[in-house]
Point group: C5
Chain length 323, copies 5
């Protein structure tokens, strides 16, 4: 589906949209085409490919939205792959998409898969600032990448809250089995985020540092700003991974400590209760001749013995910390 196909000169959009019919149209100096495609089918993509002379390998990557973020040089053209991320409806799962960019000296074509956040709003904003838009295709690339990087922030905020909750329910209290399973799934989400979005840092770094066709040096300052954002997101993400690993380690030590305490109590009470059982057992025997049984106060003396021994044991266990 072709979202928009406009030509811009001196930052101003021409009225009539560009017709994507596979014919090559000369683009006068100082103006560039900005074409936005969303989940295009092979036919649409083939027209665009012929019209702007794109490399078949790049087109193949653009249509298969599971690439790793990268910057590929195809002669005088640049092919940039970025991965997008947004929170699923359930507010917990993360949905990944891919936006690929074909940059030529006088065009930028974005091919979006799976990201719910449309670029229409963004295009209107850029069109409002003709002076900046006049800087050409690399400025548009920076704007969209900045837009994508900002998309990561709400995810990090959400994940940090969830992790904060995990900590309370796993460290401050003894975690239920369900909590341990939620921590496992949250860590798996973080690992996937790091695997899919992590390489964005290296990709944007290349836009800042390498001499690339279609990216003029003055634009590097702007890509550097995007790089800061991506770096901060990845630093927060690494922080989260370490915290969750520490939560699991500490929860295990706390559970080990709790079981130790509980076993010590079990042992103490078992010892205390064993005394009456043993004594009662002795005087429950049916020997004809057991002197103590004859003694009028035998029963009370046995009670006194049980109480004093049990009391003694209780005090001793209290002192060594078993109770």
């Amino acid at each position: 589906m072709i979202v928009a196909a406009r030509r811009y000169s001196a930052g101003k959009a021409h009225e009539i949209a560009i017709e994507l019919d596979g014919q090559r149209r000369e683009c006068p100096a100082g103006c560039f085409d900005w074409i936005g495609l969303c989940e295009p089918d092979a036919a649409e993509m083939e027209l665009v490919r012929r019209q702007y002379g794109l490399h078949p390998l790049a087109v193949e990557d653009a249509l298969n939205p599971r690439q790793m973020p990268k910057v590929d040089i195809y002669g005088k053209q640049l092919f940039v792959v970025a991965r997008t991320a947004s929170l699923g409806e359930d507010g917990e799962s993360i949905v990944y998409g891919q936006t690929a960019f074909f940059l030529g000296t006088d065009f930028i074509i974005s091919v979006r898969f799976g990201s719910s956040r449309a670029h229409r709003e963004l295009r209107r904003e850029l069109e409002a600032d003709a002076e900046r838009l006049a800087e050409g295709a690399d400025y548009v690339l920076h704007a969209v990448l900045d837009f994508i990087a900002d998309g990561y922030l709400p995810i990090m905020d959400r994940l940090e809250d969830v992790a904060q909750g995990m900590e309370e329910s796993a460290i401050d209290v003894f975690p239920e089995q369900a909590v341990i399973r939620r921590i496992f799934r949250l860590r798996r989400q973080l690992r996937r985020f790091e695997r899919v979005i992590g390489p964005m840092e290296e990709m944007v770094e290349r836009l800042v540092q390498a001499d690339l066709p279609t990216i003029d040096p003055s634009a590097r300052i702007w890509f550097r700003d995007v790089l800061d954002h991506v770096r901060r997101v990845m630093a927060r993400m690494r922080g989260l991974k370490e915290t969750l690993a520490a939560i699991v380690e500490t929860a295990s030590l706390l559970e080990q400590h709790r079981q130790g305490e509980m076993t010590r109590q079990l042992a103490a009470w078992a010892a205390i209760l064993a005394v009456p059982t043993a004594i009662a057992g002795i005087y429950g025997m049916n020997f004809d001749y057991i002197p103590e049984l004859k003694w009028h106060y035998g029963y009370f003396v046995v009670w006194a013995a049980i109480i004093s021994i049990c009391g003694g044991l209780y005090v001793r266990f209290r002192r060594i910390g078993w109770l």
Copy 2:
């Protein structure tokens, strides 16, 4: 065994195959020989070595299929080692093979060991596109490496499914001993895959980045595409390794938690059951004079005492979460 030995000019295969008799045959400009050998014996290999002037060290590596993937420069020739992988009959074990390539300005010789996926199909496909085939030996190298890299994908899909099953049977439920052993074997397979196939990334990276004889710069774009595939496979593989490590860690914490819960229940019920035993023990004693035994309602009072104490203990354990 010599699978095929054809000469190609302008991408078209000559009718009569090349005779591998150790005699050097001049190859007119613009054409190249493509020779495919499968598990050749020393004699066959010696003929080919003499006919194309291959280095003895390279031949030795080609015949001993346990090399690490590498790119070696032998004067004007290039020697490339790639490792192949495919699922065993049981659909679970992974079978590794080796395909070595000798590249000269006008020939490419592939020596295959152990990979079940014949190149015959691939050769027919390439011969169908004469224009591409005319790009020469480095294009054929790219096509076979691409074919080999695609061979990794079904293995990754299979391993990811197995790991998914492991997670369900180790995290959602309490794992049987057998599950723990399967996780151990799966992790060992992943380690082996990483050790054997891992260096392919560095090898293909060298084909993309280094100035190598017989590889013309324009082919780099195509090797870069193979590099993407290999990188994605290795990224998925690292993800799998981390997930399985997390499964073991979490299963251990869940088992620790389960034993804690079970021991708390054991302790609670032991305490509750100890009450009737102790009391019964006391009144099972045969002292001549135990006042309560004479009392008509003694037995019922004792029952009342037992029930109230046990009830009280049960409620208390319920509240502190032991039951």
Copy 3:
């Protein structure tokens, strides 16, 4: 809030402060402006931006105090971000702030957020040494960075004391649950300190090694001294992290050992107490004909048997280390 805005020539401060009204004022050779802003609002910052021609991206970073330490080149200007840290009122939590610096050939503007340690004292010290101050803006940058780096030392001393206390209460003695939770929180603080302040090492390293506008080579020796301080702080911090990880690991092994010892004692006493219970049980049976019960010395022989078996068991458990 504008803390101070003075012009210095030959290291001497002019009487009348600089008026920050957005008008560009020529600065004669050999003198420079030093402007200190503390948590300026957008309006104040806009005036300063226009007066000294600062880049909007840099201004945006200066006003959003959660940047990662970095050195950005904006044409002939330098933009440096440093993170400050100081102990909270409770003497335990760490409060982070940010101080950004805009350096031009003849000015240095510092924008402080969140650090309680005012620069007023520092400015008085520098003004006392006109000869050094005459070295210009990069000397002021070094002085403030040195001041910031010294701010880390009391935090490290504090954290090392707390960690020392943790060790005593977790290794020398058996840790209470509360101690384990305190260790968890201390490790989280250390991770955060490493994440926020860690990149200061790389930032200062760039000031020492890279050719940067507004930093003259002779100043590198001074930045190198700041780098030493930062490196020492980070080395001490890494040491602390390793020690706390080792404390958790050792506490777990000690707890495991303690539970082992306690279970062995429990088992030993259970075995010893089981003897009288079993024997008493046997002779508590009401069979009409149990020979031993008729025997006059039966009861005493049973006591002798109980004592000797229990004694034997006690000695044996003592020898195998269960008691």
Copy 4:
């Protein structure tokens, strides 16, 4: 002890051996001396040092066989240290040795300590191929290094078998204490192997890549082959280390699982056995008036109650997996 001291010209050995008397002897172009020393004493070494003008530091290293593998340049001479390894008599322990090489334009002196595998055999082989031997000292260095690298293979095969055994006796079955201790010692052996032999990779890599005196570029291809062998050995060794770490981790999880299962059975049977004990206890009390005791079928009803409760508990525990 001087093993052999021969001069070779055009790959042919001269009859009369070289006399090692400290006098410098001119070596005509195209020929070189190959001197093999095995655990030489200081005097012998001093003669050789004076005769070939070796650096005192290199001689000191050669006589102290605990060096790390390295390549040192001493002016126009090269000093190479390699570490040898071989299986001890017990077929389990690994014995390390050191072979140092002094290379000059026209000589190679090898000083061997502690390796049982004599070079005599190797020298005969090389002397059989005069054409290769004529390539000079660097070819001899390659041949000895290749011989040393091949020495690692039987050790790896042996260690892999032992590790395979460990796996069977620690994963498939529950490991005895002795097995756990054997795994500990095997892992310590691997760590030592990695520490002593590991740097060989970096050392041989330098022979392949660096411009070194006495090593002509054409020989690099041969050192590259040795590098492949060393790399494969180190890759297998790292694989072994990871497998043994995984065995320890899995054995611990299996033991934890086994204790869980056993404690659940203990708890279930304790509960089941507690029923008859409690009931018997109740009806063992000596109250004058306990109605049930008077009832003719009391005893059988109590039996019925015990059997039904115990049966019910047994079924319930079976269902929740405790039995």
Copy 5:
């Protein structure tokens, strides 16, 4: 305290020592001053600073003996910081010191803090070899660094013995709590040693590889020898750290295994002892009519039943390895 202050020409020491009074004295070509200071106070250091024109930052580092080993270039002078280590009186703790060196073209000043090993002996040795001493200040630097590096060896030997003892008392036997605490403290010592002395490797590497004022290229071979020593010490130290980590891991698995074994025995004996208790309980009931009690041989049949059941249970537990 000024230990020694001599001028050397052609490796020979002048009679009258150099007077350290802050006056700059010309040093004729080919001779150099070697001044040794031990824990100098600020005044002494100020005189030396003025006399040899040292940089205030370097002097500050020299007087604050907690620097990280480093090499700083101050114009034509070199400032080298090395850390010393020696065994404390108790033969177990490690005492760290710092020796800083100021090198000029014609002087070397060493400032020693906290190392007990005086340089007086070393100075006598060097003065005995005038030919080497004539090589100037960089040779003296090498000699002292070699002396410092040798100081690490006895510490490593000591630590390796202690670690060997730990292994015997933690792996071959079950470790007492005290042993676990000693391992913790030994590991903390190793971490500190690695943190303080570790950077010596990088520092000496810079002396070998970088172009540094006052160090002539020919001296690099000698610094390279010191680097070997430092590298070997650090490799041994890393080996020790890994062994101790493995000891903790294995001790935990052994303890886990021991508790498993002990719990299985506990469960087996509990089951065996439960039989007589249950049976005795049944026949201890006071029902009026319990047929078996009337039977003359009831008691003996019950004994037979108890013995056979307990025997059967004992054999079964023996077979499944619980006893």
